[in-house]
Point group: C2
Chain length 352, copies 2
């Protein structure tokens, strides 16, 4: 399996240590202290099976999103939510708005679904023109959008999502929206597609990025289609969310201190990091709404830059294998100022 996110484990096995991982978009504030303290005092939760209905967990997620517990489906990471949704819906043909997260393709392939891509264009800064898109949309069962989009960092406002969804509904096309990165957007509560409460839309979320816990495995789906529930239940294995992830969903989403600090950090840092990248000669940076940034290399290849950055012990994401991109593109995470400065300095040397 050749996976996104750089597979830092292969580097470890090659003897590389102390790698600064800019290929994976994780909040640099790290695992929240409050969560660590609660886990340390509650190891005995592991001695019971998790609640098979995950009532407290789903309540906590519902509160965080101002929704009802019945709108919430939990899974072993966003990945399980994605796979289970696809297995429940069983689309025959799906359209992915690209470039985007590679797991959509894998999930659709696992159910033998035909896949078409609608490619966003670099010359339009990877923005989506709804009118043009919907005019050319082929007959299909499902459209998949990542918003904010990984790897481009673009974001469609709620008004646009609503307009797009209304057109899809007329064409009887379901709408899957991946909002794994939405909490990095200021006032995201007003921008999320959950506000539409539309049965046509399924929204995927995760604690992974914002709360810096990709190793913990907690994702969730938000849905308003009552007919979906029995299908999701049938496809779902019991106890798929582990007890520590169960605790995390009850503790982290209420951790105001961590949330406020993260919001302050990302607002400042995404602006600074974009400006620094753009100031580098021979690089075009795409404006980002979230905690990573897509860069176009004007005089180097992505392989070359990836290799050379490794000499500085920095791992970046060669973005050439995203559908719709090529070996002119790399993606960088945005982290704390100290490390961001190191990365900018190294990049300046490398593309010189």
């Amino acid at each position: 399996m050749d996976l996104h996110g750089g597979n830092i484990y292969r580097l470890y096995r090659e003897g590389k240590k102390d790698i600064l991982d800019y290929s994976s978009n994780i909040n640099p504030l790290g695992v929240p202290e409050l969560f660590k303290n609660i886990v340390t005092a509650n190891f005995n939760v592991l001695e019971k099976y998790p609640d098979p209905e995950y009532i407290d967990l789903r309540k906590s997620i519902a509160n965080y999103n101002n929704l009802d517990i019945n709108n919430i489906f939990v899974g072993n990471g966003a990945t399980e939510v994605l796979f289970k949704y696809m297995q429940s819906l069983k689309p025959k043909k799906a359209l992915i708005i690209a470039p985007s997260f590679a797991e959509y393709t894998r999930a659709l392939e696992s159910i033998d679904c035909e896949i078409v891509y609608y490619k966003l264009l670099p010359e339009k800064n990877f923005s989506l023109n709804v009118e043009e898109f919907t005019k050319n949309i082929p007959q299909c069962d499902l459209v998949i959008l990542c918003n904010p989009n990984n790897p481009t960092g673009t974001f469609l406002p709620l008004e646009t999502i609503k307009r797009l969804n209304n057109i899809l509904k007329v064409k009887k096309i379901k709408f899957f929206i991946d909002e794994a990165f939405i909490e990095f957007i200021k006032d995201w509560q007003e921008m999320t597609a959950t506000n539409l409460k539309d049965p046509n839309i399924f929204i995927m979320r995760a604690l992974t990025k914002f709360f810096a816990v990709p190793g913990l495995r907690l994702g969730y789906g938000i849905y308003f289609d009552e007919e979906l529930k029995p299908n999701l239940d049938k496809k779902t294995e019991p106890w798929s969310v582990n007890s520590f992830a169960d605790i995390a969903g009850q503790v982290m989403l209420k951790d105001e201190k961590y949330i406020t600090e993260t919001e302050a950090w990302i607002e400042k840092e995404k602006k600074w990091f974009y400006e620094q990248c753009n100031a580098i000669h021979k690089i075009k940076a795409y404006k980002t709404n979230t905690n990573f940034i897509l860069l176009k290399l004007l005089a180097n290849t992505s392989e070359e830059v990836r290799e050379k950055m490794l000499e500085y012990d920095i791992l970046i994401r060669d973005a050439s294998n995203f559908v719709g991109l090529d070996n002119q593109y790399i993606r960088l995470a945005i982290k704390d100022r100290e490390n961001n400065t190191k990365v900018i300095e190294a990049l300046n040397e490398v593309v010189r």
Copy 2:
């Protein structure tokens, strides 16, 4: 979802606290201290995605079982291993040797497989007669056996497994063996079906019971059929084992102190508990090879005993919904002497 193991969470929600849970068969020694210490010092593992190939984890499991890393498939609890195996094999018709663990049925239903049951008989102490069984076996693709068997506590020695497998091979029937409880058997290393290294056999294991971590979610499959691997890989979602479970599989399986203490406890306690149960008038106890025991009530119903035991704050497993059993059966976990004594005393009162 009405699940085995008693669903203690419903009792909690009804306001019942401090329940002694004898419905769930978990090692009373609890979460190993060594694991707690390592997790507490390594929360930052959560900040990375797990190794998608789980190399170190699979190596550790392979060492523990004297096998090669390529024989090991890891999953989010034994449940995921079970579901993924069924999705990969896609049997049209399967035979379950019953009474047994209810998840086999759920896993087979999820792939719309026809299910037949071969019922072991109480008058024969739920033992399996291989000759009689194989004489009457219908045409099918797969036989499922739990060994030691949940809930009967019976165990088939390796010689019998080998004989049975040889007959199944001739009939081109695959053999799935659930060994989730095998480590509670003395010298299990000599008794496990892995010794046969036969491509016809798939063995399921878990850390859940022996290491007291049902909340952690780590199971694994052992297989010798090279053709199975690409199918398992295609069905498997990346990062399905969380980072703490990944650590557990590397730490617990080498925790000699915990393993030795557990072996000493179970050898002593299963004998004592069986004798105590059998001494109760109006109960027949079935001899057990593992850390739970099946009891036949000679003068009460299982619902009645379950309700009355709850008045003593003890939750037991009403075993009436196992295929092949009825409301004369209950199952009890075996725990430490202090609690076992309480349970025996309460049971004595209840069935009087």
